[in-house]
């Protein structure tokens, strides 16, 4: 009898403690949960985009000239298109309205496209439920970072002394110490941030392959090609030879236009130290 009262009281106290614990964690848990469902929304949007939108807007929303404009594009997210369109709201609202309502009448920029943007939202007579429209909007909006970054990378000041894309170029003597700076450095001053994609930890793939033990592998990659030669090719014409397991265009393609001969030589001298 008494023991039941005691245990019961202890249990009530324990229950209250758990509830308090949950309560304390709520402010941390709730945003995480929200991000989680945003992620799932983007996943659902990706699938819808793949089946319904790629025929006109292209793979990865890169656009198809004469059919559908690029959505993975900086001028959409920078607000340039909204201005031309006379849209006062946010980019997200603009995208949502274009998707839900469609564009039965061509806007000036796409007047010569024979097809019109169809209506997708159910409330305007399209096939998508509200939540599906929202999923696609989330997916399109998720290009923001990528599109703006690509635009920033695509407009570097051209280097008059650039090596170009001739893989038989004669290189001066390289300085591995400076090469390391160019390899890992972030930001301007001629640093190329290769380390953003290539890790030095074994087996760690960021975007490109890991460079642990690279110098040893490089000589064996292409028969009859020395490690140095292979590096030149890999850096200034990355698509000529793809490391197995990686797709084309994953590596930045314009290093040949950016670096001069000395820089390329320095980087290669550094890569040769990665035994």
């Amino acid at each position: 009898m008494t023991i039941r009262v005691v245990i019961g009281t202890v249990l009530i106290a324990a229950t209250m403690m758990i509830v308090t614990f949950v309560m304390i964690n709520e402010p941390a848990r709730m945003p995480e949960f929200e991000a989680g469902f945003k992620g799932r929304s983007i996943e659902a949007g990706a699938a819808l985009f793949q089946s319904s939108c790629t025929p006109c807007h292209g793979i990865q929303g890169k656009g198809i000239e004469g059919v559908g404009p690029s959505l993975n594009a900086a001028d959409l997210f920078s607000g340039k298109r909204l201005k031309e369109f006379g849209w006062a709201g946010t980019v997200k609202d603009y995208v949502r309205s274009a998707i839900a309502g469609g564009r039965p009448r061509a806007s000036a920029a796409f007047a010569n496209y024979p097809q019109r943007m169809p209506t997708w939202g159910q409330e305007f007579g399209g096939p998508f439920r509200n939540d599906q429209v929202e999923n696609v909007v989330d997916f399109v909006m998720n290009w923001e970072k990528e599109a703006l970054a690509a635009a920033a990378a695509a407009t570097p000041t051209p280097n008059p002394n650039a090596v170009g894309t001739d893989i038989n170029v004669q290189l001066p003597q390289g300085d591995a110490a400076n090469g390391e700076k160019l390899f890992t450095g972030k930001g301007p001053n001629g640093a190329y941030a290769c380390s953003a994609c290539h890790s030095l930890e074994p087996n760690k793939t960021v975007v490109g392959p890991s460079f642990a033990g690279l110098a040893g592998n490089a000589a064996k990659r292409k028969e009859g090609t020395s490690a140095e030669k292979y590096f030149v090719e890999s850096i200034i014409k990355p698509n000529d030879f793809l490391v197995p397991g990686f797709n084309a265009n994953l590596m930045q393609q314009n290093f040949g236009q950016l670096m001069d001969k000395k820089e390329l030589a320095d980087i290669i001298a550094y890569l040769m130290t990665l035994k």
Binding site: A35, F37, K38, E43, W143, G245
Partner: protein, 538 residues
Amino acid sequence: MALFQLHIPILDDIKKKGLKPALLAAVDDSIVRFTAGLGINDIRGVLRGDPAPKPNPRVKPHADGFWFHMRPTYYNNLVQPLYPTFRLGWLSVYFMVFETITGVILMLFYTPSPLVAFENMLNIMSNVPLGLFMRDLHKIGAEGMVGVVCLHMLRTFITGNYKKPRQFTWFTGVILLLVTVALSFSGYLLPWDQLSLWAVTIGASMAEATPTPPPLDILGQQWFGDPQFIGTMVNNLLRGGQQFNANGLLRWYLGHVLLVPLVGFIFIGVHYYKVVLHGHSLPPESEKAGEDTAKRVPLDQRTYFMPDILTDELFLVALTTFVLVFGVTFGGYHAPLEPHADPLITPLHTTAPWYFLWLQGMLKLGDKVLWGVVAPGIIVGALVGLPYVEVGPSRRYADRRIGLSVGMIVVIAISVLTFMGTPWYAVSSSVDQEIVATLLPQTHPGPLRGTHYDQLTSGQYNAKDWGSAPTAGLKKLLKIYNDEVEHGKAKLPGVEGIMIIEDWQTGLKKITFRVVWNGGANTFSQDAYLHQDSNYGE
């Protein structure tokens, strides 16, 4: 003479006894009124387990109070231990109240409309403090309640309590069983996700099979020109139209929060009344066959409700609440939420909720009308009719060999049917689809979504080379893939499993599973996208 006289007795008391004693007396007095007979000291005595004073104030609430008049003043010592009741009836009441409280909290944040219901669920889970907690509690409580009520029925069956004079108690019990199941099932639809829509669709499609008798001439028309008239009507009533729609959801909601609970509370009242009226039956072996001595409790055989039974019940409340709260926190139980309901996409392997799997199992036996409408009807009919048909006077186990055996056979049959209801039994879909569905199931997250995003290194992989995959997570995944492919070898000659992972967008990967057989002549492929934040519980 004043026109009216204002008299505040407590002021007199304070004058007479002093402030503190007078206030204490006033508090004690209010408590006595509130409990209909027990003062502070009496309550302390009850909780301490003191022997009852004479005259016993603890019997007064049973005579004068509303809540306690529903409970017997004393039990027979023989029914005080866990056996024979196992306190399952009390636990059923507990769950009913628990569900009402958690349910009302959820109700505050929920609108029964297909346009916003799912969004409301997300909001409850991400924006309402303790919202997820309440939802998990409500769900675990619903499942617990079905279990507890079924066990309670099973125990009253085993101890033979449906027999005279408790036939009607049993009947109200059957109503309560239906209420419990209806509550659980109607709540299933409300989140408006794929899981709920399709689980409930299985139920509703059974109702659609309700047969319509041969044409009758009603209002000069033969069933208004529809030979399936009744089935169509039932379907329209349940779903609001051909498909589940806004009207259907509203109906299920109102049923869930209003109609069914109302019926439930009324019948709990009747059930309780009958239990007090007839007394708790003694264990069958302790009275003569055919006798019912529950109401005749000798003075030296009494266990008073207060304190023993009361503290026992309160203890159970504390224990069960703790178990439930622990279950949804450290126990890791979470109510699932699948993607938004989509009437156009039937997920592979939808199942009914577990307590209806036996019905789904029966449906696999054949005819929808026979197994989906007639058989459940017969089962409910048999439950209702049991006490009026099985009238053997003895409740002793030894005298009820046939009855108890039949009961056990029914329990076993339900278990077997439950197994048959799961996708493991007799679900025909093609091997190639099954291989992919193992990794990428359509009714729950599954292995692929359970793999950490960082483990999914871009590239193309063949399941048979799982050993050389670059990450541990990918190895595990490809191993499962390979095992499935090996299983499929018998049906699909030369089958191979390919998996392709591509970076698709910032924080988003595309994963393609491609099953190839007959030397590349046949393929089946399915893709999925995975976001780094989506957190399926990896």
